[in-house]
């Protein structure tokens, strides 16, 4: 399941959606909002997504992962909207027969989702704001 939501992510539900009785390993990556960036205090992050394309790009990443590893289940959720430090921004949960491929597949998926999915975040500091990665 891939979901892009403006509601808080229920981490347990994402993990459960990835589980399989044949799996001996469930690996979950949880990305959270840090309270600092560039030595400044982050007040909030503002996320937005091009939903239809983000889901299509994430699906391509999952398809690539499925070609590399035997995934028994997977589930990915990404939050959009205004997030405060400590909140969950993204969850990737993968289940496989054994632990090694669950770690490898989970890392592959989060790395590629970050690089390819059309999702953006703006860091809002006490004294300004900045779209992350927009400028050199």
């Amino acid at each position: 399941m891939i979901s892009i939501t403006d509601k808080p992510i229920d981490v347990q539900k994402v993990i459960e959606a990835s589980n399989s009785l044949e799996a001996g390993a469930v690996n979950a990556f949880i990305g959270t909002v840090r309270n600092n960036a560039k030595r400044k205090r982050v007040v909030r992050l503002e996320y937005e997504a091009y939903n239809a394309m983000a889901i299509a790009e994430i699906q391509k990443v999952v398809d690539e992962a499925c070609a590399k590893w035997s995934l028994l289940g997977w589930s990915i959720a990404h939050r959009v909207g205004i997030l405060e430090p400590g909140e969950v921004a993204v969850v990737v949960a993968i289940s496989t027969a054994h632990r090694k491929e669950s770690f490898d597949a989970c890392q592959f998926i989060i790395d590629n989702v970050k690089a390819k999915a059309p999702i953006w975040k703006k860091e809002v500091f006490e004294d300004g704001e900045e779209w992350v990665a927009a400028h050199p």
Binding site: G31, Y47, E48, A49, Y50, A52, M53, A54, A56, H78, A89, V90, I110, V113, K114, A115, K116, A117, P118, I119, W120, K121, K122, W131, V132, A133, A134, H135, P136
Partner: protein, 79 residues
């Protein structure tokens, strides 16, 4: 031809609207990118600017057709 461009993130702020009506004589992605930079010089300062057509990243040589869903994709930063 008149294109409708969806804008996101910093491109939405540069353009000032979520959907931009954009008239130009060319019909390839490369021409669209070039023309955008001429009309919105701030886009030149971005780390990258991709164009998506019908929910996929589009190569420069792709021909734009009437009815295509076209979007400007500034550097992504999800996660």
């Amino acid at each position: 031809m008149l294109y409708t461009l969806k804008t996101f993130g910093i491109t939405r702020e540069i353009v000032g609207e979520r959907e931009l009506k954009f008239e130009m004589s060319g019909n390839h992605v490369a021409e669209l990118k070039k023309e955008l930079i001429i009309r919105y010089p701030e886009m030149k300062a971005l780390n990258s600017m991709m164009v998506a057509v019908n929910n996929s990243y589009a190569p420069d040589e792709l021909e734009l057709k009437e009815g295509d869903e076209i979007a400007l994709i500034p550097p992504v930063s999800g996660g």
